[in-house]
């Protein structure tokens, strides 16, 4: 019986990458198990391995996707702003955001020190931020990029304001 051979892929690869990116951004790389990925994407384990090769490969693909579809468009929007204050505020509000918000920061903290390929992607994302701030801040762009990264990090620990305060 060969009915399973050459069966077309019954799932949307892009959607699976997006789901994986959101999981990695929420639970970190180590905190996301293959069980988590199988459950959240609804894809059979065998297919997941067949398409992506490994969990690390899927993480790299998710990070690449986050750079291309979130970081770069945001950077392009920031680069269009010439007012320094507005560019900085926008960057702090929107950099490394989206459906997998924080994926870049998390990858920088967790994986980049041990994984040169992750480190290269993180560096690419930070360089995009620096370039985006150059039209508004010139030579101060690298320093301001550090300010944005620091602000994004602090925002992760900011407590939501209670809605019921007397």
């Amino acid at each position: 019986m060969v009915m399973d051979m050459g069966r077309p892929r019954a799932f949307d690869t892009d959607r699976a990458i997006g789901t994986a990116a959101a999981l990695f951004a929420t639970h970190g790389y180590e905190g996301t198990s293959v069980d988590d990925l199988v459950t959240a994407t609804g894809i059979h384990r065998g297919s997941l391995y067949k398409v992506f090769g490994s969990k690390r490969s899927l993480h790299l693909t998710a990070l690449r996707n986050h750079l291309d579809h979130e970081i770069r468009p945001t950077a392009a929007a920031i680069a269009d702003l010439t007012d320094p204050e507005q560019a900085l505020t926008t960057a702090i509000a929107s950099y490394d955001n989206g459906p997998a918000a924080g994926l870049l920061l998390l990858a920088a903290a967790e994986r980049a020190p041990h994984d040169p390929e992750v480190a290269a992607l993180v560096a690419e994302g930070i360089a995009a931020l620096e370039d985006a701030l150059r039209p508004s801040h010139g030579d101060a762009a690298p320093r301001l990029a550090s300010t944005v990264l620091g602000a994004r990090l602090r925002l992760r620990a900011a407590r939501p304001i209670p809605s019921q305060e007397y």
């Binding site: 060969v2 399973d4 051979m5 198990s33 293959v34 069980d35 199988v38 384990r45 065998g46 391995y49 067949k50 992506f52 090769g53 490994s54 969990k55 690390r56 490969s57 790299l60 041990h114 040169p116 390929e117």
Partner: protein
């Protein structure tokens, strides 16, 4: 238990089966060209997957899965007693197996070794 090492001179990944595992798997070692290795993942949940049809080796459910299995048209090689230490190695379609599932002493170190050896440029 298996010992996975990488021979960079010969561009090979070798999987050596320790002690009685040679008997259970009917193999003493596997040699896979690094070019056919797509990745390695620590995956304790893999052991709960249906094993498919045993082609050669030993299968005592809940105790040991060892040897050649076939499932959904894919050829798998297993050597797992303790699922917590199972590593899944995905292979390119050119070889004898599509996927290896082997128990190793240090899954984190094994995954790092294999993944570094095949680092995508």
């Amino acid at each position: 238990m298996a010992l996975i090492s990488v021979d960079r001179d010969r561009d090979l990944m070798t999987v050596e089966f320790q002690g009685l595992d040679k008997l259970w798997t009917l193999k003493s070692r596997l040699e896979i060209p690094l070019a056919h290795v797509r990745g390695a993942t620590h995956d304790p949940g893999m052991a709960r997957e249906p094993k498919g049809v045993r082609v050669g080796g030993t299968h005592v459910p809940g105790v040991i899965t060892a040897g050649r299995f076939r499932r959904d048209g894919e050829r798998l090689f297993w050597d797992v007693k303790n699922p917590d230490k199972a590593v899944v190695i995905e292979l390119a379609d050119a070889g004898t197996y599509d996927r290896l599932v082997v128990e190793v002493d240090d899954p984190r170190a094994t995954v790092a070794l294999v993944e570094q050896s095949i680092a995508r440029g």
